[in-house]
């Protein structure tokens, strides 16, 4: 380097440093954990993303007489909500959510094995990446955040033919369908999906996002709701569960 150097504060602003919350993620989480002494260790283990500790906590709670299926809502989902709330507030980052969701899903499997009853989920969502498109990381994030928020996800994967999407919607009867496309050449499949769903009389909200997709495009088909960030997907599902229709969703999530 030549002798040139600068005081960077005169030419750029590290807004992330400037805006960082004073509280550490651990402190913030500690305020949100359930008070119950059987549930709290489970919630903590989810926050830490430690599967083994989640199972251990569940075992203790079951030994103490708790119903395994009730534990899904009372402990696992409560622990996961701590994580998703802190993610929404910008206190923790996505990999933490992913690791916590993995731990929570292991916990749910464990609870199911311990019981003959089936748990009721908040609702089912079908996720897919448009036909011809292999860019699937955004979809994986969307699916993980939906699961983290208590939704059952049927993940059709990437490069999914239109027919297969329609079949899945018929078979699974989801509360919402999501589509991800990162290429201007593949996003047109969403229009085809929309038309075929309408033909079949399936008026399911169709949340669409991904790099190439924009609000103007999604507005051109009836069932489409544009989602800018993955974190919008569970928010949309929550609204649907609360009774919102497609136009109300468009009203709320079409930000531009």
């Amino acid at each position: 380097m030549t002798s040139l150097d600068i005081d960077p504060s005169e030419i750029l602003v590290r807004y992330n440093v400037k805006m960082e919350k004073a509280m550490t993620p651990e402190d913030a989480a500690a305020e949100l954990y359930p008070k119950d002494e059987l549930y709290r260790p489970i919630a903590e283990a989810i926050f830490e993303g430690e599967e083994d500790d989640v199972i251990e906590g569940l075992e203790k709670a079951i030994d103490a007489g708790k119903n395994p299926i009730a534990l899904i809502d009372d402990a696992l989902m409560v622990g996961m909500k701590v994580v998703t709330d802190l993610y929404d507030q910008g206190v923790i980052f996505l990999p933490n959510v992913m690791m916590s969701a993995d731990a929570m899903l292991d916990g749910i499997d464990f609870c199911k094995e311990q019981s003959d009853e089936a748990p009721v989920s908040k609702g089912k969502v079908v996720c897919h990446v448009a036909e011809g498109d292999v860019h699937d990381i955004g979809k994986t994030i969307v699916a993980a955040l939906l699961r983290a928020n208590g939704y059952e996800v049927v993940d059709l994967g990437r490069d999914v033919p239109v027919d297969e999407v329609i079949e899945a919607v018929k078979a699974e009867k989801p509360i919402m369908l999501t589509g991800t496309a990162l290429m201007t050449t593949t996003m047109y499949a969403f229009k085809a999906v929309n038309d075929r769903l309408l033909e079949a009389g399936l008026k399911v909200p169709f949340a669409c996002g991904g790099g190439a997709v924009n609000q103007d495009f999604v507005t051109t088909y009836e069932l489409g709701v544009y989602g800018e960030e993955a974190a919008d997907a569970p928010k949309m599902a929550d609204k649907i569960v609360a009774g919102a229709g497609i136009s109300a969703l468009k009203e709320e999530f079409h930000k531009h």
């Binding site: 380097m1 030549t2 040139l4 150097d5 600068i6 005081d7 960077p8 030419i11 750029l12 590290r14 807004y15 992330n16 440093v17 805006m19 960082e20 550490t24 993610y87 910008g90 923790i92 980052f93 996505l94 990999p95 933490n96 992913m98 690791m99 993995d102 011809g132 292999v134 699937d136 990381i137 994986t140 994030i141 993980a144 994967g157 990437r158 490069d159 201007t184 050449t185 047109y188």
Partner: protein, 461 residues
Amino acid sequence: MAINRYTKMAYGSADEMIFGKSKFPVKAGLGLEIGGGYTTPEVNYAPRPEAGASKEKLVKEYQRITTDIMNRMVQVGFPAVVLETEHVEQMTNNPTWGGEVAHAQKTIMEEFHDEYGIKCALRHTPGDIREDRDFLELRGDKFNTLMESFEEVASNGADLLSIETMGGKEVFDYSILRNDVPGMLYAIGCLGTMDMDFIWQEIASVAKKNNVVAAGDTDCSEANTAMFIAGGLLDKNLAHTLAIIARAISAPRSLAAYEAGAVGPGKDCGYENTIVKSIAGVPIAQEGKSSTCAHSDVMGNLVMQCCDLWSNESVEYHAEFGGTSVQCWSESLAYDCALMNTATATGKAKDLRDLFTLSDKYRDPQGYVLAYDNAYRVGEAIVKDGNDIYLRAKNAALKSIEIMEEGVAGKLELTRFEKGALADAKAALGALTDDQDTFMSDCMSKYKEEVKVFLPENYGL
């Protein structure tokens, strides 16, 4: 062709590295010498979606694009240009389509060269089609189609051959969303390099046979995925300190192309290219402030520091107020190059280089590590164990961490979160063995179990 690992730096010091000049310039196309003392714009474009409907429509679209660019270059008096055609999938899957597009483009470029003497070259980048719907399928029928595609474009007018290969991506996609740095190291440093060794020997022979240039690769599928997930300053999807560790690990991976016979210019979106240039001395393409048509960037000026070709990454072909999109962006690139070339002609190149670097060096940890003085140090860490693909990638990661730690002691500001991710990454790397075989077999069992789409046979394992 054989693999020759780099165990020495091409440059004696970081200060010798500069834009427009490389240790080993590459002659290509119609009168161009890349890295021979001047920078050249490299224009990238994507056809409108409707144009993909048939071969005839595609060829026509690329003819329009090529003519538009060449016209604008001569209208504004620019001496040289490179065009890059990144294949849409149909063009690679039907090798003759790619060949016809290359031929049509080159014919137009030759006409302009003959009429005006403008220096130019055509790069073709077939898509890495080696995958099934769910799995990578790196070796087998799709590989054969891909090689046919290279053969077709090389024999029909493409001067520079490139690709953005995907080896290791299945393990990488899994680990990047879980802060798993050893997984990233295995995916990019080991699996990625093994696939690079495999495919680039083949591409180099196609190039040799057709007397064209085996140019180079980029770790787009991994390091850029990390960079995009990391996003802007306020995004919360990945610590930028981890994104740059992935990038550092990608340098020895992209270097492998040159170890297998490629000679440059490296691909534009390989932000690891400054490190690669320090080791291999090959010319490199870069993109940044003039590729905002394709993506936002936190080191847009800095990456110009040592570029030989200066690119816009990609823009869809359509009308803008200033002409077609490819005309607008090629003109911007060419003006950037004119400024760099003026600095070279007036003996001010090093000053301009340092201004580019300094304007972004402290904006983000990614730019800090890629600043050419630091990038050079990552290069030294790589060549120290140049013959061991695992150790050299691990060295690169550790060196990038050390550089960031020094930065924090100085003018680089990091959030507590970024520092935490850095400390965790350091601890995870510190706990790893130095033995390649142990690492590889540990990872093999772990990821075979955790990543259901990971097929070891893709890597000859």
